[in-house]
Symmetry: C2
Subunit: 461 residues, 2 copies
C-alpha cells in the first residue's frame, strides 16, 4: 500500500479517536524505545487502542487493506522484534493497562498488555503473592509472553512457557480467540492442542496478545543472597550441577566471568576478586534457607569456591546483587559511547565449561569486548558485546563472532536463543537449528493463521 | 479402502518383516489392551515397526493408500484414544524400546515409544536420577507425551508439558521432524514456534511420536508420607491452598472423599476414618522434611484436620499410600463384575469445594457409585464411575452425569479434562470449552499437518 493512508487513517480514527492514531513525530518517539541494536525501522502509523474490541476493529481494517501489524509493548526486546520491515501499523498497547481478575486463592491473575512485570508486582504487594519471571527489563507481561521471556528466576519458577495459563489473542483477520477458552484458568489441562504455548514465543507473528493469564506464587518467607568466586569456569559449573542434583530449590544461580566481574567492580566501585563468580539466591522459610545455604556452601567449597559473601535483609541483598543487576551498564561503561548487543545461547549444563572457554578464546583472538553473564542453572548465557557502531570492521567482527557462538551452541546440542527469541537476526540460525522439515511445519502454521503474512512480517521465519 | 489389503500387506511386510505385520487374532489381542470403557474398535492391521525409519516407511505406504494410522503404546489411555474408528493400521510401538542418550550431568534422557515410566525409572536406579511424572498406569513415556499425562506428582514436578524437551515425530506423509531440532536438549529455548508443546497432548492426531527427550530430577534424599482426615471438603481444600501459599514444596497432595476412603478400607482391610482425607508426600533432605511437615501439620490442624498418620521408610510409606494407589481397584470392588470409567475435570483451587459438594449431591440424586480421588494441588479430580455395562439405564445416567460434571467445571473457569485428554468422548465438550474460533484454529493446524485426516481420525476434534 502506498499513498492510500488518507483512506485508512480516518477509519483508524473512527475506532480509537483522534488521539489514538499518530504519524510523524510520535512514530519516531515510539520507535526510539526499541532498545535493540537493530537498525531503526519505523512504521508508517502508530495506533493506540484502548480495548480488545478496538484491537480487533483495527486489525480488520489492516487485514482489508493488506497492512502489516506490528504489536508493541515496551520496546525492551533485544532481537529487533518491533521493527517495521515493510512499514505498516504499529499497535502500541500501553493504553490497555488494567490488572484484571486477581484470584488470590487460585494463584492467578490476568493482565492487559500495558501492564509490566514491576507494575504487576507492585499491584500485588499486599497480597503475599508475586510473579517471579524476571528478564531484567521492566517489560510488559504480554510482550514477555510473546517472546517467551525468562531470566534469572527461571531455574526455580520456569519461563513464560510454564507460567502462562491463557491468552486472549487477536488474529490477523481481527477475530478474537482465547487459547485455553474464554475465562478459563485451571492450573493444568489436556483439552485439545496447546494453543497457549503456540502463541507464547511467537513474537507477534501469529497474532496480537491482548490479555495474559498468569500463575502467581507465594512471596517467600525469607530470602538469602550469596556470592562465591571460583578458580575456573568448570568449578563454577560443577557446583551448579551438584546443587541442582541434590535438589536444593535454588531460586537464582547466575554466572559472571572474570571480565564481567572486573567491569562490575569498576562501575560500582566494588572489589570482588576478578574470577569466575556465582551469584546465588535462596527463597524459603528461615529454617529451610539455613539448610539450602549449608548444602550449597559445602558443594561450592568442595569445588574450590571461596567463602560466601552473605546478605539477608533486602538492602544488603540489593547491594550484593547490584553487580549482577547492573551488568549491562557496567559492560557499556567499559567503552563509553559504544553500544551493546547481547548474545543468547543455551546449552546442556555439562557443555557450559567447554563453550564458555572456547568463547572467551574467540573473543580474545578477535579483539572483542564481550563480558559474560549467564543463567547457569539453565545452561543459558550472554556475551554483552560492547562495540563502536561506527567502526564497520568491529561491527562485522561482532556479527561473525555471534554467528560462530550460536553455531558452537548448536554443535553442543543447544539452541541459538534461550530467551531473547529469533526476531530479525536469527532467522538463518533457526533454520540450521530446526532443519528444513521442522521449519516447513512452522511455516505451515504461520500460513494457516496469517495467510496474508501481515502479522509482524519478516520476523522468526 | 476396502478389499485392497492384499496390495498393502506385502508392502508393510517388506518394511518390517513377516513378524511385523498382523491381522486377525493379533489385532484382537492388541486391541484388548485398550483399558478404557470405550467400545472396542479394532484396526484392520497391526504393524510392529522397529525403528523410526520403519515408522516413516510404513506411514508413507499408508499415506499413499489413504489408510488411517493409529499409534499404540501401552493402551492404558482412558479416553478411547486407540480405537480405530475408521479401521486402518495400528502402529504398535512396543518393539522400539531403547533408552537412548542418558546424560546424567544434564538431567536428560531420550526414550523410544516402547519404554514405560517404570521401565525408565528402573533403568535409572543407580544414577541418583528419576522421572517423576506418574499417571498411575505403567504407561509408555511417548504415549504420556501424546496425551499430556500428569498424575500425583504434578503439583511439584509439572506435567508432560513441562518435562518434554524434544520429540521425534513421524508426520502423516512419513517425513521425520524433531520438534526442537535434531538432538537438541537445552533446558530452555525460545527458538521459533513451540512445536514440542504442539505435539504434546495432540493424542496421535498430528503425528506418531517415535522418541521423547525428557527432563530428569535428582532422587530426593528422603521422603515422608502422611495421611490426614478433615471435617469437610472445604477444610481439606483450604489446607491445600494454604500449604501452597506458604511455599512448602509438597510433592503430592491427594484428596479422597468419604466414599473413596470407605472403599479403600474395605478393599485393603484398613480403618481410616470415613471422611474427606488428604494423602501427602514430602520430598527433600531430612532436615527440610521436618520443617515441611511441621508447617503443613500446623496448617491442617488449624483447619480441623486430624493428627497425621506418618510414614518414613519405603515400606511403611508404601503401606500408607496403598489406599491411594489401589483406589481404582477398591472402587471396582464396590460392585464386583462392574466396569469403571474415570471422569477428569480440573478447576481453579478455590472452586474445588463447591464442585465436589455439588457433584456428590448429583451422584446421590442419580443413584450412582462414583468415589472421588483428586490431585487437589492442581484442582484436578476424578469420579471413578462404577457401573454395570449391561444396565442401559445406568450407562445413560453415568453418561449424563459426566457431561453435567464437565459443564459444571466449565462454568467454574475450569476444563473438561485435566490430564486424560479429549479422545473420543469429549469432542463436543472441547468445543464448548474452547469456543468456535479457537476450535477453528485447532482444525486449521490439524489440516495443515494432516491434510488427508489419516492420523488417528475421529479423536480430539
Amino acid at each position: 500500500m502506498s499513498g492510500g493512508w488518507e483512506r485508512v487513517i480516518p477509519a483508524f480514527r473512527s475506532v480509537c479517536g483522534e488521539d489514538g492514531v499518530s504519524l510523524g513525530e510520535a512514530v519516531r518517539e515510539q520507535h526510539g524505545r526499541d532498545e535493540s541494536v537493530h537498525r531503526c525501522r519505523p512504521p508508517d502509523v502508530v495506533v493506540w487502542p484502548r480495548s480488545v474490541e478496538e484491537v480487533s476493529a483495527l486489525a480488520k481494517i489492516c487485514h482489508h487493506h493488506h497492512l502489516p501489524i506490528i504489536p508493541f509493548g515496551t520496546g525492551t526486546g533485544l532481537e529487533g522484534g518491533v521493527g517495521a520491515l515493510k512499514g505498516g501499523v504499529c499497535f502500541s498497547l500501553r493504553n490497555m493497562d488494567r490488572v484484571l481478575d486477581l484470584h488470590q486463592e487460585d494463584f492467578d491473575v490476568s493482565v492487559e498488555p500495558g501492564v509490566t512485570r514491576k507494575g504487576l508486582n507492585s499491584y500485588l504487594r499486599d497480597t503475599g503473592l508475586w510473579f517471579p519471571v524476571d528478564p531484567g527489563a521492566d517489560a510488559s507481561l504480554c510482550g514477555m509472553a510473546a517472546t517467551s521471556a525468562s531470566g534469572t528466576n527461571a531455574v526455580r519458577y520456569g519461563t513464560m512457557r510454564e507460567n502462562v495459563l491463557n491468552l486472549e489473542v487477536v488474529l490477523a483477520d481481527g477475530s478474537i480467540i482465547h487459547t485455553a477458552g474464554r475465562g478459563r484458568r485451571p492450573r493444568k489441562t489436556s483439552a485439545g492442542y496447546n494453543l497457549t504455548n503456540l502463541f507464547v514465543g511467537s513474537e507477534g507473528t501469529l497474532g496480537v496478545i491482548t490479555k495474559t493469564t498468569l500463575r502467581l506464587y507465594g512471596v517467600p518467607e525469607a530470602m538469602v543472597s550469596a556470592v562465591c568466586t571460583f578458580p575456573s569456569v568448570q568449578a563454577a559449573v560443577d557446583s551448579t550441577v551438584q546443587v541442582l542434583q541434590t535438589g536444593v530449590p535454588i531460586a537464582r544461580i547466575e554466572f559472571l566471568d572474570d571480565v564481567m566481574i572486573d567491569a562490575c567492580n569498576r562501575f560500582n566501585l566494588l572489589s570482588y576478586p576478578v574470577a569466575p563468580t556465582l551469584f546465588l539466591e535462596f527463597h524459603g522459610t528461615e529454617k529451610s534457607l539455613e539448610e539450602q545455604v549449608t548444602v550449597t556452601e559445602e558443594i561450592t567449597q568442595a569445588n574450590g569456591g571461596s567463602d560466601f559473601s552473605w546478605a539477608r535483609d533486602a538492602e544488603t541483598r540489593g547491594r550484593l546483587w547490584k553487580a549482577r543487576h547492573d551488568a549491562w551498564y557496567a559492560a557499556l561503561a567499559l567503552r563509553p559511547g559504544c553500544k551493546a548487543y547481547s548474545t543468547d545461547v543455551c546449552v546442556p549444563l555439562s557443555r557450559l565449561p567447554q563453550i564458555i572457554v572456547e568463547t572467551k578464546e574467540d573473543l580474545m583472538l578477535n579483539r572483542l569486548t564481550g563480558p559474560i553473564a549467564g543463567h547457569v542453572g539453565d545452561g543459558n548465557f550472554h556475551c554483552i558485546m560492547v562495540m563502536d557502531p561506527n567502526d564497520q570492521d568491529e561491527v562485522i567482527r561482532v556479527h561473525e563472532f555471534t554467528e560462530r557462538l550460536a553455531r558452537r551452541a548448536l554443535a553442543l546440542d543447544g539452541t541459538c536463543t534461550g530467551e531473547h527469541g529469533v526476531g530479525l537476526g536469527k532467522r538463518a540460525l533457526l533454520r540450521e537449528e530446526m532443519g528444513p522439515l521442522a521449519i516447513e511445519v512452522m511455516q505451515g502454521l504461520k500460513t494457516t493463521l496469517d495467510p496474508k503474512n501481515l502479522m509482524n512480517p519478516g520476523k522468526v521465519l
